[in-house]
């Protein structure tokens, strides 16, 4: 019984962790370069719609994912225009981007689709033989293909950030932009690149939600996952492995909450639903000391003319 419950939590939690992980990894690059993009939620909503719509009309999940990522990239560019070129306050512009994506996805859904429609999307794969192993078989070898992609991206992101010269530039630009500028690193270019990567990853996360997880689009499909992803970057101390741990923690909490309802344990539904959100706040409160380890120039627009 206990074992069944724990396996149930893990089985339910892994699929839920993917969108958090993807969006969190993307936001990590953005924040490492010194930009605080709070609009991830809006990007995810819009790309969830774009991905859904392409699959709905053309039927190709692959093209749906590509389109969603392209949409995410464009949203990243828009955030870049506002926060890098126009040097706007990043917290508020993120809220603007969120409202823009939220309103637009809802509007387009009502105009072009209308009601709830399911799509075939991407289904789970079962790796023969291995998926039959008890317990670890279902957990490790019968997941959605995008689950494997997301977890493979963790070492890739780590390598990119810590082992390549581009990653070094990203970290430099996010810590001491004036110094990076002096040695010929273009702060503007690196920050734009990081925002686009963040947008593409948020786009993939949104596409995963509509194409692979829910197989449909609904208003507010992201339910705050974009905001949680931003919080995860703080929680994970701007490191891919930390973000992965955070994504797993929150999705397990989410899965636990769902399982309570499935098992019919007498617990108010509303209280169960808020567990993951409360966890975010509690974790933020207990990790505040580590927040000073973040990129020094995070949230500060860089102005060449006023460098000190």
């Amino acid at each position: 019984m206990i074992q069944e419950f724990i396996v149930g939590i893990i089985l339910g939690g892994i699929p839920l962790s993917v969108s958090l992980l993807l969006a969190g990894l993307g936001e990590m690059f953005t924040q490492r370069s010194g930009v605080f993009n709070l609009g991830v939620e809006g990007i995810m909503m819009l790309s969830a719609f774009i991905g859904f719509f392409v699959v709905y009309t053309i039927g190709s999940p692959f093209l749906g994912i590509i389109a969603a990522m392209a949409g995410g990239a464009l949203m990243g560019l828009l955030m870049g225009l506002v926060s890098i070129t126009f040097k706007a306050s990043q917290g508020i512009s993120g809220i603007g981007l969120f409202m823009f994506g939220w309103g637009l996805s809802g509007t387009l859904f009502r105009v072009y689709v209308g009601g709830v429609t399911t799509i075939k999307g991407i289904n789970d794969i079962y790796i023969p033989v291995l998926s039959n192993i008890p317990i670890i078989g279902p957990i490790l070898f019968s997941q959605n293909p995008l689950v494997y992609v997301a977890y493979l991206l963790v070492p890739v992101a780590s390598w990119l950030l810590f082992k390549t010269s581009w990653g070094l530039k990203v970290r430099a630009v996010g810590t001491t932009p004036a110094a990076a500028d002096t040695v010929g690193v273009s702060v503007v270019k690196i920050r734009y690149q990081s925002l686009v990567i963040g947008g593409v990853m948020a786009g993939l996360a949104g596409a995963y939600l509509s194409i692979a997880q829910a197989h449909l689009f609904a208003d507010n499909i992201t339910a705050g996952r974009g905001f949680i992803a931003v919080a995860l970057v703080y929680f994970g101390r701007w490191k891919p492995a930390g973000i992965m741990g955070g994504a797993l923690l929150f999705s397990m909490a989410h899965s636990f909450q769902r399982l309570i309802q499935v098992y019919g344990i007498n617990f108010p539904y509303e209280i169960a639903v808020i567990i993951p959100y409360i966890l975010v706040i509690v974790v933020l409160a207990f990790t505040w000391k580590s927040q000073s380890l973040g990129p020094l120039a995070l949230g500060k627009p860089y102005d060449r003319e006023f460098r000190g």
Binding site: L38, G42, L78, L81, V82, F86, K87, A88, S89, G91, I92, S93, G94, I95, G96, L97, F98, M99, F100, G101, W102, G103, L104, G106, T107, L108, R110, V111, A223, G224, F227, I228, V230, A231, Y234, P268, E270, I271, V273, I274, Y277, I278, V280, I281, L284, A285, W288, Q291, E305
Partner: protein
């Protein structure tokens, strides 16, 4: 510089600020026109309906004010927080917590005379919203938790807490006995209703309360020591600390007030419109309030016209939906665009070099005008 030119320069700067705000609204509307095209609607017709149709009927005009009242409350609260250097994104949740606290008081004392009950409901709503905002303020001040993230999370939590109460402890007994189970409280006694001003419309006295509060916020922020210190904390916390101000306490105070104002927006909705607490009471006022506050220049007296403008946009977008067949939710993305273009334009306002350039153009124009008149430059 003589006093005269200083006043002139001040006036020019104000005109420049106003001009930039208008230009950014226009920019948002132009990009919004593209969205209408994507959504298969005629943007010219849509905007024409949105901006003019509400004025063609008594109902439309009163609805603008009905929408403006909660927007003004939320906008004032957000302005207090932003001015003190804390970004309150959690108005949506604070509205709900205010509404549920107010509803509980209204239901508990149905026989209390109106003159006592209504202020009690508003006070309860203020406290409900203030406590909810205060959580984020306290965590920012004493645990250093990013207030943007905590207020966003508190929004999601507030929705569930609110639903828990109107589905459970505070549900209308009739919903239970009839077995319909619609999540809403019983209708309040008339002692908790704001007076309706024009029969046949929903216009109630809430708009006057909102305007009075706007003036009070102006006095608080610009005519009292507390307000001066709150603004000082917002502009330069380090300097404020060096001057001996308790920065943490002022941040907490700002969030308490900010949440309290959003909570009173909840009171306005339950006592003025629905006369009960029910699902989806807020209609996005928490986020629209951010636009209202920014567009009003974070100034109480600017927020009054600004909330009327966005009240118009919300009413107009409902009417537009029927006329052009584009969902009213498009107004949400246009509001997002307004935020983006407003914050983008701030750079021009704060960049002294750019400001000098524009003001020089003003100067040279007035010089030539003076020369033509034969005056001295």
């Amino acid at each position: 510089m003589s006093k005269n030119t200083e006043i002139k320069r001040h006036r020019q700067e104000r005109m420049l600020n106003f001009g930039i705000v208008i230009v950014s609204l226009l920019a948002a509307l132009i990009i919004g026109a593209l969205l209408f095209l994507i959504a298969k609607g005629n943007p010219f017709k849509a905007y024409a309906v949105m901006f003019t149709k509400p004025f063609t009927s008594t109902f439309g005009m009163t609805e603008i004010l009905v929408r403006a009242a909660p927007l003004m409350f939320v906008g004032l609260g957000i302005a207090i927080a932003f001015r003190s250097g804390i970004l309150n994104i959690g108005a949506e949740g604070q509205i709900l917590m205010g509404a549920i606290a107010g509803a509980a008081v209204a239901l508990a004392f149905p026989d209390m005379p109106k003159i006592i009950l209504l202020p009690m409901v508003f006070l309860a709503s203020f406290i409900g919203g203030a406590l909810w905002g205060g959580i984020a303020g306290w965590m920012r001040s004493y645990l250093n938790v990013n207030e943007i993230l905590s207020t966003v999370m508190l929004n999601y939590i507030a929705i569930q807490v609110y639903m828990f109460f109107i589905r459970g402890p505070l549900i209308d007994p009739k919903e239970v006995s009839y077995g319909t189970g619609v999540p809403q409280t019983a209708v309040f006694s008339k002692n908790a209703w704001l007076t309706r001003l024009i029969p046949g419309t929903r216009l109630h006295t809430g708009i006057f309360i909102a305007i009075v509060l706007a003036v009070l916020v102006y006095i608080l922020l610009w005519k009292t020591t507390i307000g001066y210190r709150m603004r000082a904390v917002g502009i330069e916390p380090k300097a404020a600390r060096a001057a001996g101000m308790n920065v943490k306490a002022y941040l907490l105070l700002a969030m308490l007030l900010s949440g309290g104002f959003a909570g009173m927006a909840g009171a306005i909705e339950i006592t003025g419109i629905h006369h009960r607490a029910m699902e989806s009471i807020s209609a996005g006022y928490g986020f629209s309030g951010i636009v209202v506050a920014l567009f009003g220049g974070l100034h109480p007296l600017g927020i009054i016209p600004s909330s009327a403008l966005f009240g118009l946009l919300i009413v107009g977008s409902d009417m537009m939906q029927r006329a052009v067949n584009v969902p009213a939710s498009i107004i949400l993305s246009i509001q997002g665009l307004v935020i983006l273009s407003l914050v983008s334009s701030q750079n021009f306002l704060t960049n002294p070099r750019f400001k000098e350039k524009i003001l020089k153009i003003f100067d040279s124009k007035s010089k030539t005008r003076n020369l033509k008149k034969g005056g001295r430059a």
